[in-house]
């Protein structure tokens, strides 16, 4: 049973001014504290998520919607376990895989094949799992002999193919996506779409942040409308998306 439960989760992001990072300023402030009493710590705090209570269950295909800065990406990071909530609890069961930046950690000097391995390890695959899948991944990229050349000789389209192929080979119970991944030319696009659907069907829970109505309608059965760090609405996709669209056009 895969599940994620959030209970009164808050996330406060510190925005360090240049001075906030400095040990000197910190110590100087310690000295002043007695006299001035309440002193700004030099660190601005932004409440990115405010009191979220939410349960995601198996079968949920959740579309995250909301304006820029509503907290969608922060919520994905909390679900992924990257940000520990500053208040509240999170409980999760199942293997969570965030695909937030699929090109993360690619090494320019390594060959395509070596990069497949590196990405696999970063995605949390075991060595055996990588060895089992690498031929299938290599075939999917259609890069052929290029796979034995260093990555710095690749075009941006080829890089994307490589990153996409290995990232979508992962087995996830809970899959977290920030915008749908767009890839290369039209013929590969078709293939990529099929693979993306396959990846999502293998996962038990999918959370997808997107600004595209079409994508949300195609892929999701529920929608979570975020507004200034809070949950505005969470429910069946059709209803929530319709009300969100209405609110948007009303300004």
């Amino acid at each position: 049973m895969s599940v994620i439960r959030l209970h009164n989760v808050c996330v406060d992001l510190p925005v360090f001014e240049l001075s906030g990072r400095s040990l000197k300023m910190h110590l100087a402030r310690l000295g002043r504290r007695g006299r001035i009493g309440k002193d700004n710590d030099g660190v601005v705090i932004v409440r990115a998520l405010d009191d979220l209570t939410l349960t995601l269950q198996e079968g949920d295909r959740v579309g995250l919607i909301g304006r820029n800065g509503a907290g969608k990406s922060t919520l994905l990071r909390v679900l992924a376990g990257i940000y520990a909530p500053t208040a509240g609890q999170i409980y999760s069961r199942g293997r969570i895989v965030p695909l937030l930046d699929i090109a993360l950690g690619m090494d320019e000097l390594s060959t395509g094949r070596q990069n497949l391995r590196l990405r696999g390890l970063l995605l949390g695959m075991s060595n055996a799992e990588i060895r089992r899948k690498i031929e299938e991944i290599a075939a999917f990229t259609e890069l052929g002999d290029h796979l034995d050349l260093p990555l710095r000789t690749y075009s941006s389209g080829m890089r994307l193919r490589l990153a996409f192929a290995v990232s979508t080979a992962v087995d996830a119970d809970i899959l977290l996506l920030d915008e749908v991944i767009g890839v290369g030319d039209a013929s590969f696009m078709k293939k990529a779409e099929g693979r993306m659907l396959d990846l999502q069907s293998r996962a038990k829970i999918v959370v997808l942040a997107s600004h595209s109505d079409t994508v949300i309608h195609q892929m999701c059965n529920k929608a979570l409308w975020m507004d200034r760090g809070r949950i505005r609405e969470f429910g069946p996709m059709d209803e929530v998306a319709a009300r969100y669209a209405a609110a948007q056009s009303a300004g």
Partner: protein
């Protein structure tokens, strides 16, 4: 006690393939397409050892066969210690991209810095072998003590690195402060000079933990078994230091993604 920190340490150790690979890739990136690669470091270290050996040997009126191995081996190990500590300061800061995009264990990045510098040290170790081959050791029977000494030495470097790495992620002045302090420590640690030269001022090295750490690895190689005090200092520092590092990790591990 330290449940979060220990869990992170365990999963970091389990991901050894990842940090070994990342550490190795960094070395390769730095020396891409140079024929000698990291051996350039060995060569430059060798040149330094040779020139300091001649000048300071003459300055201090030392017998070169005694002075050169002491100083050369000291310099190689001092390089290992300071590079682990200095680069651990940047371990979390420089891995911000990974830390903010994936939920990997965190100590992995400190182990990566340690591993990278250990690999560089292995290249420099050629100098140690060369010095021992030319000048020999006063007593070869102590060489087996080198291995437990090296383990203690590295354990100590790693906890200092972890403490420095966490605090540096929050306070960005710390890397500079630490590198200045290590520079100072270099001059009060018997590397360029020998302990005997201090005469009445031996307290300078008796109270210097770095001097003891260095003796743990250098002593066995040059044929002087470290005394009980040195072993005790090494072990107590490693245990107490790791407790401190784990306590700090337990307290601040979850803040690291917010800081980097």
């Amino acid at each position: 006690m330290f449940a979060t920190a220990l869990r992170d340490l365990r999963s970091s150790l389990a991901a050894w393939r990842l940090w070994c690979l990342l550490g190795w890739l960094e070395i390769r990136q730095r020396y891409a397409r140079s024929t000698l690669g990291p051996f350039w470091l060995t060569i430059s270290m060798g040149v330094i050892v040779g020139s300091i050996g001649v000048v300071y040997g003459a300055l201090f009126n030392q017998n070169i066969a005694d002075y050169l191995p002491m100083m050369g081996i000291g310099l190689v190990f001092w390089g290992l210690l300071t590079s682990i500590i200095n680069e651990s300061c940047m371990a979390y800061i420089n891995s911000a991209g990974y830390i903010r995009q994936t939920a990997t264990p965190k100590l992995l990045f400190m182990l990566q810095a340690g591993w990278r510098n250990f690999l560089i040290f292995l290249h420099n170790f050629l100098i140690v072998i060369l010095l021992l081959a030319v000048f020999g050791s006063k007593d070869w029977s102590t060489v087996s003590l080198f291995f437990p000494g090296l383990v203690l030495f590295i354990l100590n470097a790693l906890w200092i690195g972890q403490v420095a790495g966490i605090i540096s992620a929050r306070f960005r002045d710390l890397p500079q402060i630490i590198s200045a302090m290590l520079q100072m420590a270099f001059y009060v640690t018997p590397i360029l000079f020998q302990p005997g030269m201090l005469k009445d001022h031996r307290w300078i090295i008796d109270y210097n933990p770095f001097a003891h750490l260095l003796e743990l690895v250098r002593g066995p190689l040059v044929g002087a078994a470290p005394d009980t005090l040195t072993w005790t200092v090494g072990i107590v520092m490693a245990v107490a230091g790791w407790l401190l590092a784990l306590a700090l990790t337990e307290r601040y591990l979850k803040r690291i993604p917010y800081w980097v």
